[in-house]
């Protein structure tokens, strides 16, 4: 059985692609309302872990529990229904749809009705659509995007696209939000804004957040707990201060000290 009150519990998760072990024996427990960072050099397996958590990949070994439910046989959309939403490293918005529709699709699991209800425009249709519209506008207001609700998503500036992706994920009303490099490609100012936004939504929606990030400053300032990954293995975890002082982490990022390498 899984740890009862953990939102997410990944146990001894390993995935192999052919002969390559991308992630080995990864363990992670996330409690409600936690803010956890996942860092590591390029190719350490961070996004692979995200893909396993959200059901895109199936772990070769080990098991992942969301809210105490094993997600082994779950498809991505079923895991979303359990309360896990994500953003993508390379933005994956619905480019040719409006900003508003992007957010509405994010809330798909909450505002569904049958095709017959849609065709006949029953009361259920009107209620669901009204709720979807209302909630989507509210979310867009939080992200300051409400006056661009009618724009095609692809026409937003890059920084706004990143924010819209977060808004879309929040629209699924998740308990756990996975952010895959939310600050990638943002300048310093935008990164500061993003930091504030993530803090805000963490408070406002009372959700747990797991964030992958390369920007050390952001991770150190944002997260309560950090996990460091290298070559698919967890090499360190702890508070930002602990991680920063850990020689193994410094080595992974900067390489071995010259003397130790015997040069």
């Amino acid at each position: 059985m899984a740890n009862g009150n953990a939102l997410l519990d990944a146990r001894d998760v390993t995935i192999r692609f052919g002969g390559l072990t991308a992630v080995s024996h990864f363990n992670l427990g996330i409690q409600p309302h936690e803010l956890v960072g996942l860092i590591g050099p390029n190719g350490a397996g961070k996004t692979t872990i995200f893909n396993m958590l959200t059901g895109v990949y199936k772990p070769t070994e080990g098991e992942i529990f969301v809210g105490g439910v094993s997600t082994h046989d779950f498809k991505p959309y079923q895991i979303t229904a359990l309360g896990v939403a994500r953003t993508f490293q390379n933005i994956r918005l619905f480019k040719e749809l409006s900003v508003l529709d992007n957010v509405k699709i994010g809330g798909h699991i909450h505002y569904k009705y049958s095709a017959a209800a849609a065709v006949l425009k029953t009361n259920r249709f009107h209620d669901a659509e009204e709720a979807a519209e209302h909630d989507a506008i509210e979310l867009l207001k939080i992200f300051g995007l409400e006056d661009r609700a009618d724009y095609y998503a692809k026409n937003l500036p890059y920084g706004d696209q990143r924010r819209l992706e977060i808004a879309r994920a929040l629209s699924a009303q998740p308990k756990l939000l996975l952010l895959d490099e939310p600050a990638a490609g943002l300048n310093d100012r935008e990164t500061r804004d993003l930091l504030q936004t993530i803090r805000d939504i963490h408070q406002r929606f009372d959700i747990a957040i797991l964030v992958i990030e390369h920007n050390m400053e952001l991770v150190m300032e944002l997260c309560e707990r950090i996990i460091v990954l290298n070559f698919g293995k967890t090499i360190a975890q702890g508070t930002p201060a602990e991680v920063r002082a850990n020689p193994v982490v410094i080595e992974a990022y900067l390489g071995e000290p010259a003397e130790a390498a015997g040069i």
Binding site: T54, V56, K75, P76, Y77, T80, A81, A85, R86, F88, R92, L93, F94, K95, E96, L97, S98, D101, K104, I105, G106, H108, I109, Y111, K112, Y113, S114, A115, A117, A118, V119, L120, K121, T122, N123, F125, H126, A128, E129, E130, A132, E133, R148, D150, Y151, Y152, K154, N155, R168, A169, S171, A172
Partner: protein
Amino acid sequence: MVACFHFCPLPSAFCLHADEGKRVTKSLPWWLRDFLWLALFVAVLVGLAYGLEAIPIAGIAYYNRILVIMGINITLAVSLNIINGHAGQFSLGHAGFMAIGAYFSAYLTYYHFAPSLDKMPAGTQQWLMQNVFLVIAVLCGGLLAALAGYLVGLPSLRLRGDYLAIVTLGFGEIIRVLILNIDKIGAARGFSGIPHWSNFFWVFLVCGLTIVISWRLVQSSVGRAFLAVREDQIAAEAMGVDTTRYKVKAFVIGSFFAGVAGGLYAHYMMYLNPQMFMFVKSFEVVAMVVLGGLGSISGSVVAAVILTFLPEGLRSVKDYMPGGRDPRMVIYSIMLIVLMLTRPQGLLGRRELWQVFGRKKKRDQSEAPPVQ
């Protein structure tokens, strides 16, 4: 443009602004509102049907026939647009679905309904039963086509793009070859003797319903899920959209209407031949959808109208050619090529007709205008 024109008395379905639609629904229960619009639509259609019969123009029957074929083409294009344009599943098997609907409904009528109708005394009751039988036969044809759509939709869970196109193309051919080998429905001789039950009224009723249903779907959570699948399958799945289910749903809905259109076609032409449902027919429908703009319902309608009338309108070109050669299909092809070169996104792109005109009126400053 007749088709476009008389669908306009359905503003609740075409309403752009959600508020207006809501106000109407608040004052009337939804079933009553829809029923009233339907009644009005039926009345207009009946009036038009009688009017067309009565107009004393030479060769009115010819124009009437082209109008009916146009209505069937619109139904086919709009239904394929649900699969290709909205859900983004490239299907080349629409002629197959149409053939299933056509042959199955014709089979029912020829072997079951028509004989029992003949036993009835002529009169109003017989006329009424004829139309009831037609509806039943055509609906059954549509349902069987929908079942086929379900079966074809299943491989689309695994296949994407070109691969799916080839599978659906193969499906269409399988259906044709199957029909070619069933003697009871005429095989290679063709299926003749189908009663002439379908007419202008039924074709355009179905055509209007297809457009309204397609429009209402795309404005709903179902339609948004279709669009999400088209835009980005991985992201759609991550947002909780069961992509498998919605792909199959699109196939089922699209093939149902193709089957219904096929049934009406059978009862209008009174003769079916497997040659009518070659893959060329599928391409014709795909050309309509692509020409109009993938994902644009009004685009499909406009393109279906143009592509129905164009080959007919070009018939007169022959008179000016030396030696009486007929270059109309050459001109038709050249026009298609030129259109695709100049507007690769189709006539309307992904917008609807009124959005295109609305944009021109506003003279939007940016190249990248808002959706509405």
